[in-house]
Protein backbone atom coordinates (compact mmCIF):
# COMPACT_ATOMS: atom_id res chain seq x y z
CA UNK A 1 0.00 0.00 0.00
CA UNK A 2 1.45 3.43 -0.90
CA UNK A 3 1.70 6.16 1.72
CA UNK A 4 -1.14 7.94 -0.06
CA UNK A 5 -3.43 5.00 0.58
CA UNK A 6 -2.69 4.65 4.28
CA UNK A 7 -5.66 6.66 5.42
CA UNK A 8 -6.93 6.56 8.99
CA UNK A 9 -10.32 7.72 10.27
CA UNK A 10 -10.30 9.57 13.58
CA UNK A 11 -13.46 10.28 15.55
CA UNK A 12 -14.37 12.92 18.11
CA UNK A 13 -17.54 12.69 20.23
CA UNK A 14 -19.31 15.74 21.57
CA UNK A 15 -22.81 16.33 22.91
CA UNK A 16 -25.37 19.09 23.19
CA UNK A 17 -28.82 19.36 24.75
CA UNK A 18 -31.43 21.25 22.76
CA UNK A 19 -35.13 21.86 22.28
CA UNK A 20 -36.80 21.71 18.88
CA UNK A 21 -40.05 21.32 17.03
CA UNK A 22 -40.49 19.42 13.77
CA UNK A 23 -43.15 20.98 11.58
CA UNK A 24 -43.84 22.55 8.21
CA UNK A 25 -45.14 26.14 8.60
CA UNK A 26 -46.95 25.87 5.25
CA UNK A 27 -49.22 23.15 6.69
CA UNK A 28 -52.01 23.44 9.23
CA UNK A 29 -51.76 21.90 12.71
CA UNK A 30 -53.78 18.86 11.64
CA UNK A 31 -51.46 17.95 8.79
CA UNK A 32 -48.37 18.58 10.89
CA UNK A 33 -49.73 16.25 13.58
CA UNK A 34 -50.58 13.59 10.96
CA UNK A 35 -47.13 13.66 9.38
CA UNK A 36 -44.88 14.42 12.36
CA UNK A 37 -46.93 13.14 15.28
CA UNK A 38 -45.72 14.17 18.73
CA UNK A 39 -42.62 15.76 17.22
CA UNK A 40 -44.75 18.71 16.11
CA UNK A 41 -45.90 19.58 19.65
CA UNK A 42 -46.15 23.38 19.49
CA UNK A 43 -44.41 23.89 22.87
CA UNK A 44 -41.27 22.04 21.75
CA UNK A 45 -39.58 18.95 23.14
CA UNK A 46 -35.91 18.11 23.37
CA UNK A 47 -33.00 15.75 23.10
CA UNK A 48 -29.50 15.03 24.32
CA UNK A 49 -27.81 15.00 20.92
CA UNK A 50 -24.63 12.96 20.56
CA UNK A 51 -22.37 14.15 17.77
CA UNK A 52 -19.60 12.05 16.25
CA UNK A 53 -17.25 13.88 13.90
CA UNK A 54 -15.23 11.60 11.60
CA UNK A 55 -12.12 12.98 9.92
CA UNK A 56 -10.19 10.79 7.47
CA UNK A 57 -6.70 11.33 6.11
CA UNK A 58 -3.11 10.16 6.05
CA UNK A 59 -1.32 10.64 9.39
CA UNK A 60 1.17 13.49 9.31
CA UNK A 61 4.69 12.02 9.30
CA UNK A 62 5.90 14.53 11.91
CA UNK A 63 3.07 14.35 14.43
CA UNK A 64 1.46 11.00 13.70
CA UNK A 65 -1.89 12.80 13.71
CA UNK A 66 -4.55 12.86 11.02
CA UNK A 67 -5.75 15.91 12.90
CA UNK A 68 -5.08 17.16 16.44
CA UNK A 69 -8.18 16.06 18.38
CA UNK A 70 -7.84 19.03 20.74
CA UNK A 71 -8.12 21.32 17.73
CA UNK A 72 -11.11 19.41 16.38
CA UNK A 73 -12.79 19.60 19.79
CA UNK A 74 -12.20 23.37 19.95
CA UNK A 75 -13.51 23.92 16.42
CA UNK A 76 -16.60 21.82 17.17
CA UNK A 77 -17.22 23.73 20.40
CA UNK A 78 -16.93 27.08 18.58
CA UNK A 79 -18.93 26.18 15.47
CA UNK A 80 -21.55 23.82 16.91
CA UNK A 81 -21.82 23.58 20.69
CA UNK A 82 -21.82 27.30 21.40
CA UNK A 83 -24.59 27.75 18.83
CA UNK A 84 -26.76 24.74 19.71
CA UNK A 85 -26.12 23.62 23.28
CA UNK A 86 -28.94 24.44 25.70
CA UNK A 87 -30.68 26.27 22.88
CA UNK A 88 -34.03 26.09 21.11
CA UNK A 89 -33.01 25.17 17.57
CA UNK A 90 -36.12 26.74 16.01
CA UNK A 91 -36.04 30.01 17.97
CA UNK A 92 -32.41 30.61 18.95
CA UNK A 93 -30.50 29.78 15.75
CA UNK A 94 -30.52 31.38 12.29
CA UNK A 95 -30.00 28.06 10.54
CA UNK A 96 -33.43 26.65 11.37
CA UNK A 97 -35.56 29.75 10.92
CA UNK A 98 -36.61 28.40 7.50
CA UNK A 99 -35.31 24.85 7.75
CA UNK A 100 -37.06 22.07 9.66
CA UNK A 101 -34.65 20.95 12.42
CA UNK A 102 -34.83 17.24 11.71
CA UNK A 103 -31.75 15.20 12.60
CA UNK A 104 -31.02 15.06 8.87
CA UNK A 105 -30.97 18.82 8.48
CA UNK A 106 -29.05 19.38 11.71
CA UNK A 107 -26.35 16.98 10.50
CA UNK A 108 -26.14 18.81 7.17
CA UNK A 109 -25.82 22.18 8.90
CA UNK A 110 -23.13 20.85 11.25
CA UNK A 111 -21.22 19.42 8.27
CA UNK A 112 -21.22 22.78 6.50
CA UNK A 113 -20.07 24.59 9.64
CA UNK A 114 -17.16 22.22 10.25
CA UNK A 115 -16.21 21.74 6.61
CA UNK A 116 -15.30 25.41 6.40
CA UNK A 117 -12.82 25.06 9.31
CA UNK A 118 -11.16 21.73 8.48
CA UNK A 119 -8.35 21.12 5.96
CA UNK A 120 -10.03 20.31 2.62
CA UNK A 121 -7.54 17.47 2.11
CA UNK A 122 -9.25 15.63 4.99
CA UNK A 123 -12.55 13.84 4.45
CA UNK A 124 -15.32 14.75 6.87
CA UNK A 125 -18.44 12.89 7.94
CA UNK A 126 -20.99 13.69 10.63
CA UNK A 127 -22.98 11.15 12.63
CA UNK A 128 -25.69 12.62 14.83
CA UNK A 129 -27.68 10.65 17.40
CA UNK A 130 -31.04 12.21 18.20
CA UNK A 131 -31.74 9.32 20.57
CA UNK A 132 -29.88 6.06 21.20
CA UNK A 133 -32.02 4.39 18.56
CA UNK A 134 -32.27 7.12 15.90
CA UNK A 135 -29.17 8.52 14.24
CA UNK A 136 -28.16 9.96 10.89
CA UNK A 137 -24.95 10.24 8.89
CA UNK A 138 -23.98 12.93 6.40
CA UNK A 139 -22.64 12.63 3.77
CA UNK A 140 -24.25 9.20 3.44
Amino acid sequence: MSQREKKVAVYRKEHFNAAHRIFNPAWDDKKNAEVFGKCSNPHYHGHNYELVVKVTGVPDPETGYVMDMKVLSRITAEEVLEKFDHKNLNLDTLYFRDLNPTAEHIAMVIFDLLRARIDPQLDLQIRLYETERNFVEYPA
Binding site: N17, A19, H45, G46, N48, H86, K87
Partner: protein, 161 residues
Amino acid sequence: MGYFSGNQYPVHKYEMVYLTRLEHFNAAHKLYNPGWTREKNEAVFGLCANENWHGHNYDLYVTIKGEPDPDTGFVFDVKRLSDIIKEQVVEKVDHKNLNLDVDFMRDKMCSTENLAIGIWQQLLPHLPAGVQLHAIKLYETPRIYVEYFGNGATGPVAEGQ
Protein backbone atom coordinates in the same frame (compact mmCIF):
# COMPACT_ATOMS: atom_id res chain seq x y z
CA MET B 1 -47.28 -18.58 52.97
CA GLY B 2 -45.27 -21.55 54.00
CA TYR B 3 -44.13 -24.81 52.74
CA PHE B 4 -43.80 -28.16 54.39
CA SER B 5 -41.05 -30.68 54.27
CA GLY B 6 -42.27 -33.98 55.61
CA ASN B 7 -43.52 -33.51 59.20
CA GLN B 8 -41.61 -30.29 59.80
CA TYR B 9 -43.31 -27.04 60.74
CA PRO B 10 -43.86 -24.57 57.88
CA VAL B 11 -40.77 -22.51 57.15
CA HIS B 12 -41.11 -19.19 55.46
CA LYS B 13 -38.10 -17.44 54.09
CA TYR B 14 -38.89 -13.92 52.97
CA GLU B 15 -37.17 -13.17 49.68
CA MET B 16 -37.17 -9.46 48.85
CA VAL B 17 -36.51 -8.85 45.17
CA TYR B 18 -36.19 -5.46 43.46
CA LEU B 19 -37.67 -5.21 39.97
CA THR B 20 -36.84 -2.29 37.65
CA ARG B 21 -38.45 -1.14 34.43
CA LEU B 22 -36.77 1.38 32.10
CA GLU B 23 -38.78 3.84 30.03
CA HIS B 24 -37.72 6.86 27.97
CA PHE B 25 -39.09 10.25 27.15
CA ASN B 26 -37.83 13.29 25.25
CA ALA B 27 -38.81 16.69 26.61
CA ALA B 28 -38.04 20.39 26.64
CA HIS B 29 -37.56 22.38 29.84
CA LYS B 30 -35.83 25.35 31.40
CA LEU B 31 -34.62 26.17 34.89
CA TYR B 32 -36.01 29.63 35.48
CA ASN B 33 -37.34 31.07 38.70
CA PRO B 34 -40.04 33.59 37.75
CA GLY B 35 -39.50 35.47 41.01
CA TRP B 36 -35.93 36.38 40.05
CA THR B 37 -34.44 38.73 37.48
CA ARG B 38 -33.01 37.34 34.27
CA GLU B 39 -29.53 38.19 35.53
CA LYS B 40 -29.98 36.20 38.71
CA ASN B 41 -31.42 33.23 36.79
CA GLU B 42 -28.45 33.22 34.42
CA ALA B 43 -26.01 33.56 37.33
CA VAL B 44 -27.53 30.59 39.17
CA PHE B 45 -28.64 28.30 36.33
CA GLY B 46 -26.29 29.28 33.51
CA LEU B 47 -27.28 27.96 30.10
CA CYS B 48 -30.15 25.99 31.66
CA ALA B 49 -32.02 29.29 32.14
CA ASN B 50 -32.48 29.85 28.40
CA GLU B 51 -35.99 31.28 28.24
CA ASN B 52 -36.69 29.47 24.94
CA TRP B 53 -36.01 26.11 26.61
CA HIS B 54 -33.58 23.32 25.80
CA GLY B 55 -34.14 19.59 25.97
CA HIS B 56 -33.13 16.10 27.01
CA ASN B 57 -33.65 12.41 26.35
CA TYR B 58 -34.66 11.32 29.84
CA ASP B 59 -34.14 7.71 30.99
CA LEU B 60 -36.56 6.71 33.75
CA TYR B 61 -35.88 3.66 35.94
CA VAL B 62 -38.83 2.67 38.17
CA THR B 63 -37.95 0.13 40.87
CA ILE B 64 -40.55 -1.79 42.86
CA LYS B 65 -39.90 -4.41 45.52
CA GLY B 66 -41.61 -7.41 46.94
CA GLU B 67 -41.63 -11.13 47.21
CA PRO B 68 -42.06 -13.26 44.09
CA ASP B 69 -45.56 -14.73 43.81
CA PRO B 70 -45.38 -18.50 44.25
CA ASP B 71 -47.63 -19.12 41.22
CA THR B 72 -46.04 -16.75 38.72
CA GLY B 73 -42.57 -16.14 40.10
CA PHE B 74 -43.23 -12.43 39.59
CA VAL B 75 -42.91 -9.57 42.06
CA PHE B 76 -45.29 -7.88 39.63
CA ASP B 77 -46.06 -8.38 35.94
CA VAL B 78 -43.50 -6.07 34.35
CA LYS B 79 -45.70 -5.56 31.27
CA ARG B 80 -48.41 -4.15 33.56
CA LEU B 81 -45.81 -2.00 35.31
CA SER B 82 -44.73 -0.64 31.91
CA ASP B 83 -48.36 0.17 31.04
CA ILE B 84 -48.83 2.03 34.32
CA ILE B 85 -45.65 4.05 33.82
CA LYS B 86 -46.64 4.88 30.25
CA GLU B 87 -50.19 5.92 31.19
CA GLN B 88 -49.35 7.89 34.32
CA VAL B 89 -46.02 9.42 33.33
CA VAL B 90 -44.66 8.93 29.82
CA GLU B 91 -47.80 10.01 27.96
CA LYS B 92 -47.84 13.20 30.04
CA VAL B 93 -44.21 14.15 29.49
CA ASP B 94 -42.95 12.58 26.25
CA HIS B 95 -42.35 15.08 23.46
CA LYS B 96 -43.76 17.74 25.79
CA ASN B 97 -42.57 20.97 27.37
CA LEU B 98 -42.16 20.19 31.08
CA ASN B 99 -42.68 23.83 32.11
CA LEU B 100 -45.82 24.38 30.00
CA ASP B 101 -47.52 21.07 29.26
CA VAL B 102 -47.26 18.94 32.43
CA ASP B 103 -49.91 19.38 35.12
CA PHE B 104 -47.88 17.81 37.92
CA MET B 105 -44.97 20.18 37.31
CA ARG B 106 -47.06 23.35 37.33
CA ASP B 107 -45.66 26.03 39.64
CA LYS B 108 -42.59 23.90 40.35
CA MET B 109 -39.03 24.40 39.25
CA CYS B 110 -38.43 21.86 36.47
CA SER B 111 -35.28 20.34 37.91
CA THR B 112 -34.63 16.63 37.55
CA GLU B 113 -35.00 16.39 41.33
CA ASN B 114 -38.54 17.79 41.32
CA LEU B 115 -39.41 15.74 38.26
CA ALA B 116 -38.38 12.53 40.05
CA ILE B 117 -40.54 13.44 43.05
CA GLY B 118 -43.46 14.29 40.75
CA ILE B 119 -43.11 10.97 38.91
CA TRP B 120 -43.14 9.07 42.24
CA GLN B 121 -46.35 10.84 43.23
CA GLN B 122 -47.96 10.08 39.86
CA LEU B 123 -47.19 6.36 40.11
CA LEU B 124 -47.87 5.63 43.77
CA PRO B 125 -51.71 5.66 43.72
CA HIS B 126 -51.81 3.35 40.67
CA LEU B 127 -49.73 0.49 41.97
CA PRO B 128 -51.74 -2.45 43.32
CA ALA B 129 -51.76 -3.39 46.98
CA GLY B 130 -48.75 -5.51 47.79
CA VAL B 131 -46.53 -3.74 45.28
CA GLN B 132 -44.14 -1.35 46.98
CA LEU B 133 -42.55 1.49 45.08
CA HIS B 134 -38.87 1.55 46.02
CA ALA B 135 -37.10 4.13 43.86
CA ILE B 136 -37.26 6.49 40.94
CA LYS B 137 -33.95 6.92 39.13
CA LEU B 138 -34.03 9.60 36.46
CA TYR B 139 -31.20 10.36 34.05
CA GLU B 140 -31.28 13.84 32.59
CA THR B 141 -28.15 13.13 30.55
CA PRO B 142 -25.82 10.08 30.52
CA ARG B 143 -23.71 11.95 33.09
CA ILE B 144 -26.39 13.33 35.42
CA TYR B 145 -29.06 11.41 37.31
CA VAL B 146 -31.09 11.67 40.49
CA GLU B 147 -32.63 9.04 42.75
CA TYR B 148 -35.70 9.41 44.93
CA PHE B 149 -36.76 6.85 47.50
CA GLY B 150 -40.00 8.39 48.62
CA ASN B 151 -38.82 9.39 52.10
CA GLY B 152 -40.70 6.51 53.70
CA ALA B 153 -43.88 7.00 51.66
CA THR B 154 -44.35 3.68 49.90
CA GLY B 155 -48.11 3.93 50.40
CA PRO B 156 -50.46 6.71 49.27
CA VAL B 157 -48.94 10.15 49.86
CA ALA B 158 -50.58 12.00 52.75
CA GLU B 159 -52.02 15.43 52.11
CA GLY B 160 -49.63 18.29 52.61
CA GLN B 161 -46.54 16.24 51.73
